[in-house]
């Protein structure tokens, strides 16, 4: 049973990682691509790490996976923010669409 759940989670992780990569290629500018990367870094990462947690039999690996997950969740937004801020200060204009 946990094995099916683990496979399901890994599948979800793959799906969202794929979505993030696709968005990286398709979205028009730097800032919108940042959102696509966010998909891979958040749900893609969470699903794959949790799936691996259910699959592993070693408690050492489990502890390491927990650490990886927590570190990612704390550092990823800081890195994204640093990138966005650097782009803005560097004068990268966002492609904006203000309809209405």
């Amino acid at each position: 049973m946990p094995d099916i759940l683990a496979d399901l989670l890994l599948g979800i992780g793959i799906l969202f990682t794929l979505a993030g990569s696709l968005g990286m290629l398709r979205f028009p500018d730097f800032y919108t691509r940042l959102h696509a990367a966010g998909v891979t870094e958040t749900l893609g990462m969470i699903a794959i790490v949790t799936g691996l947690m259910l699959k592993t039999e070693s408690s050492g690996t489990l502890v390491r996976l927990v650490f990886i997950g927590v570190f990612m969740l704390v550092t990823v937004p800081i890195a994204s923010h640093a990138l966005a801020k650097a782009a803005r200060h560097g004068g990268v204009r966002p492609a904006l669409r203000e309809e209405e």
């Binding site: 968005g23 966010g38 998909v39 650490f67 969740l73 923010h81």
Partner: protein, 157 residues
């Protein structure tokens, strides 16, 4: 001094947890790394000795993390759908929202929560406002509703 020893102890434990190897080479590398980081932090503290305290209501924080997780899943589904759609239907925009959390820690939690939710990235954060790049009109509207800011503000005290 006691602080430094405790700090080095925590780093050492973390090293052993993450490495899982006890051969002299790996333990030796660990000792060198811990010493180096402790030295670096010591020097950085001399430049910026401000002490930041993690003072939040932990039970409420746990509830907030669960709520945030639900928001992250929702936002992920939304952005993933946009990425898979044959036609790109983005309406990117910059929005400014009043930052409700008053403390420094609260604003950091707020800014990071915004970025962690796909579809919104914090570009700038000051005492009054957050400037956010939003991927669509909907993601901007969700932020402008202020639900997240209110929840973070509730954590402060």
């Amino acid at each position: 001094m006691a602080r430094k020893i405790a700090f080095a102890g925590i780093l050492g434990t973390l090293w052993i947890l993450l490495s899982g190897h006890y051969s002299p080479l790996f333990v030796g590398l660990g000792v060198v790394s811990v010493a180096l980081v402790t030295l670096m932090v010591h020097r950085m503290n001399r430049a910026d000795g401000t002490r930041y305290e993690l003072r939040v209501r932990w039970l409420a924080f746990g509830r907030y993390v669960l709520w945030l997780f639900v928001q992250i899943v929702r936002a992920n589904v939304e952005v993933a759908r946009l990425a898979f759609r044959p036609r790109l239907e983005l309406s990117p925009r910059m929005v400014r929202v009043r930052a409700l959390p008053r403390t420094e820690l609260g604003r950091v939690i707020y800014g990071n929560s915004i970025t962690l939710t796909p579809g919104t990235v914090t570009v700038h954060l000051d005492d009054e406002e957050v400037e956010v790049h939003a991927l669509t009109r909907e993601s901007a509207a969700a932020l402008e509703s202020g639900a997240m800011g209110r929840r973070v503000a509730e954590l402060e005290r």
